[in-house]
Symmetry: C2
Subunit: 248 residues, 2 copies
């Protein structure tokens, strides 16, 4: 069965989409079969991989008008289930449904033949993200070394615990990924030290450095590994993929 991993952080702009795409791409280049789920109404992941007007999206699957396999788009070892703005209405309509946290879990039960399914979540801890957590084996938390992103961390960990005890005992935090790391900023290193001394969760050794290539790749509809394989961005996500595969 595929291992299902949610990429979450309710703080905005913390590299969730960039990490889901590039970790997914790096894993697929090691031969793993990867499915990326774009669970964000902004559909940044879909756009960033060149998917602009998909025939079907996750919203169609949630509403029952299409099956998961009908909407999946394949790009070599990397498959994508596109998102769209209709996920806003889907989230609203889920609120009043019985078993409203289990919809995505049931949808992903249809996904066959993948080694990993990575779920790109919106910047919130509301019902769509809860669906992702209820469906997942593991959680990845990309974190910028800035004051405000730290402040949201305890809330994220709290939500994970709540979903774990209410719906999904096997759920665990695989680790925190330090992203957009700027070594010139003294504040960044201080915050990372503080983190390491104050939390129990794993922090990956691989840090994703600030690299303009990561911000440019989306305008070419490619992962950074396809756009600029020699860049620091590509190197860092390859290193993260290796560490990801080597840690329990």
């Amino acid at each position: 069965a595929p291992k299902i991993v949610s990429v979450i952080n309710q703080k905005g702009g913390t590299g969730k989409t960039t990490t889901t795409i590039n970790l997914g791409s790096a894993l697929s280049k090691t031969g793993k079969k990867i499915l990326l789920i774009d669970l964000d109404p902004q559909a940044n992941l879909s756009y960033s991989l060149g998917v602009e007007e998909p025939q079907g999206t996750l919203a169609d699957v949630f509403s029952g008008s299409k099956s998961l396999n009908q909407i999946i788009l394949k790009q070599e070892n990397l498959s994508i289930a596109p998102g769209s703005n209709e996920l806003v209405d889907i989230e609203i309509s889920l609120v009043t449904q019985p078993q409203r946290e289990s919809f995505l879990k049931n949808i992903l039960a249809e996904a066959k033949g993948y080694d990993f399914i990575l779920i790109d979540c919106p910047p919130s801890l509301s019902l769509l993200t809860v669906n992702a957590l209820a469906a997942s084996d593991e959680v990845l938390i990309p974190l910028q070394m800035e004051v405000l992103t730290l402040q949201g961390l305890s809330q994220i960990l709290n939500t994970v615990k709540q979903v774990q005890s209410a719906f999904n005992p096997k759920l665990k935090v695989k680790g925190i990924v330090v992203v957009m790391f700027d070594k010139r900023r003294k504040l960044s290193s201080e915050i990372q030290e503080y983190l390491e001394q104050n939390i129990a969760e794993r922090i990956f050794k691989t840090r994703i450095r600030l690299n303009v290539k990561l911000a440019e790749a989306p305008s070419f509809g490619k992962s950074v590994l396809d756009y600029d394989p020699g860049s620091y961005g590509a190197q860092d996500y390859q290193a993260l993929a290796a560490e990801f595969l080597n840690t329990k």
Copy 2:
């Protein structure tokens, strides 16, 4: 009557909170009476201004257990209505209420004596943000000059038009603020040129530059104008405040 301004962008980490705080602070230092509304369940604005365990929050006002004036905290000319994580449940419960977009408008009708009310919105275009837009006279859109933030812009402008025609004919976009501007990145200037040639909305002449002081100020519970008045961050937000007051 106070002029009510929503600061919106469904893309995460685009400087909404940083702009609401520092534009608000700069305006208050010109003598204007300013009320900041923290409409984000993450409550970053509240935390960034040193508000950690408020007696009452906006969630209490939405649920009717407190009045707006009971929760407002005053810091010289700058007043704050704190947010909290309970806004997640508030948003869920609003969904089934009649007139679900007008709750904030009715709440803000109680706000007396302010020149401007600035509303910090969450990274979404869902019901809380719709409430802000339905209550507002004007909209400010902070935008990073990056591919993905551009991609969300038409969606933002679309939502503004929808709220305008459905609930609030007087609503207009005051302007787009270029934030976190990094002049070393060629991509940033190219994106701004593209913007200027392709949209009708005003783009403020003042650009907020990338400045580490803006990221540091929250850990001291102050606006950047109080934390480091000589910094580029302080200068830029002061210039933005002047331009804001001088434009219709």
